[in-house]
Symmetry: C2
Subunit: 305 residues, 2 copies
């Protein structure tokens, strides 16, 4: 079984952290991840720097990333202005994003769902001109911080609009981490009536500890792409102090034990996460990372005694 | 589907925490759990107080717990001496314990596996005289901190010896939290050739973030009893700083969302865990607890502004 892990720590992780990592540090993180074998990295977002100061260095970062033949760098592109900026960089792939829930879409993008489509269509046209592939993100597919449960019909409507625009893949986001396997199975069962699951990515958050279980359920259903964040970097903007993105290390450990090779070296990812953790000045949420660091401390004590 | 949760925080949780909770505080925790609807509590261990000072107050605690008709209190009983102490208390159920791995058994009990059986048999006989049911714990069933992988044949040998002695249930412990679903399925498939899964409890640790996924896998296989610890209380003695027991809250949240009623009120468990967290002076590992506390802080800020 081939599983594609998309490392979103530098974008989705950092945009939800208090600290702002310098461009040099971000390049160091990217290089660490590349050395570990990561091949798909979402590195930044071309949104207004006023909105997300953590990612204000999008253009500089894009130019400083090492160029490797088999590596795909992706960035979020919210609108025409973002697309104009992104087009001036060597970023390989773009991603457009919106929510399945009307209220979350309005709060996040400042537009209704129906007013969002034309904006994204413009981005899609510019991407086509550039010969750039675009992924689509759909947020709040299992629940919305404002509306509660989101209907599968509404999720599918948004997915179909994005596919019609030409996105090659849709990442379904459990933005507030409310899903459990039952909901994952139910949505994916409905989904695959309309969209091949090879075009679906699972973007799970671990806010309530269910991220890994949901990811495993999605794999069992036939999903082959998962979004993860090194160390579990990035909190939950709707519950500061809670966990956010599913941790790369936790997924990697599980896949390894299940006999699924991703070509990614877990220990080397941990090394990079340890650097990020030092910068964030807080223990990152990944349990595999913490277990790895605890063992490292213990071995060090053993050597000293 | 009926799922039985056995709350092991006061025993397995506290014995791996640095702080020592006073008897009064332990009684407060037990009362909080009872008020939340918990009905099966493992509260202490009648091992030598020199070994586990955190549980040195076993006898006092046992006498101070509220007596309720439908509540089962259980304690670990390692040997004849422990059984003599336990027999003087109103504890309803005992548990004997050993490891599937020879080295872990020696390090933990100071005896070989074969020398452990007669000791436990003596406890079983005393329990029979008292009309007391006994559970059996088998540790390190998926891996040993000293030997690595443990063979299924070895796990089954130990289980069969315990069942022959008369334990009514066996709790299979992933003591160092190394299992993933493949290992859980494989062990349980082998297991159910010899032991009905209704006699098996899943005792998962979350050291590598796989606890909930493994518990869910065990439920899918037919296991109906899970051991959990409030807040995820209790670390990993083999990797200080890493997570230990699977958190009660995380399991409860998943079960609720799956439509499985346990009769336990999640918010009230969180209240009790918050008290324990204050005593431990560190954030407990349960993601549901931390998410709950984050929302509570946010609501409080909302009220104040």
């Amino acid at each position: 079984m081939q599983i594609k892990l998309v490392e979103v720590g530098l974008r989705d992780g950092l945009q939800n952290e208090r600290i702002i990592l310098g461009t040099e540090d971000k390049v160091r993180v990217a290089k660490g991840l590349l050395a570990a074998g990561v091949r798909h990295l979402e590195v930044t977002s071309f949104v207004s720097p006023r909105w997300i100061p953590q990612l204000a260095d999008a253009t500089q970062l894009a130019h400083q990333l090492p160029s490797l033949a088999d590596v795909v760098y992706r960035a979020l592109v919210p609108n025409r202005k973002g697309a104009e900026r992104a087009a001036q960089t060597p970023i390989h792939e773009w991603a457009v994003f919106m929510s399945a829930s009307e209220t979350h879409n309005r709060k996040n993008i400042n537009k209704s769902i129906s007013d969002t489509y034309p904006v994204l269509r413009e981005v899609m046209e510019m991407a086509k001109e550039q010969g750039i592939r675009v992924r689509g993100y759909v947020s709040t597919v299992f629940g919305c911080p404002y509306e509660g449960k989101v209907s599968t019909a509404q999720v599918l409507r948004v997915c179909e609009q994005l596919l019609q625009m030409g996105v090659y893949e849709i990442s379904l986001g459990d933005t507030i981490g409310v899903a459990t396997p039952k909901a994952v199975k139910s949505l994916l069962q409905e989904c695959q009536q309309h969209i091949p699951l090879t075009q679906i990515a699972g973007h799970f958050h671990d806010t309530r500890g269910t991220g890994l279980t949901n990811a495993y359920t999605a794999l069992e259903m036939g999903v082959r792409t998962l979004d993860t964040s090194l160390g579990g970097l990035g909190g939950c903007p709707y519950a500061p102090g809670a966990s956010g993105n599913l941790a790369t290390e936790d997924v990697l450990y599980l896949l390894q034990q299940e006999g699924i090779d991703t070509g990614i070296d877990l220990a080397r990812v941990c090394e990079t996460s340890e650097f990020v953790q030092t910068k964030c000045r807080r223990p990152l949420p990944s349990k595999v990372l913490q277990s790895h660091l605890a063992q490292k401390r213990q071995e060090k004590r053993g050597d000293e005694s």
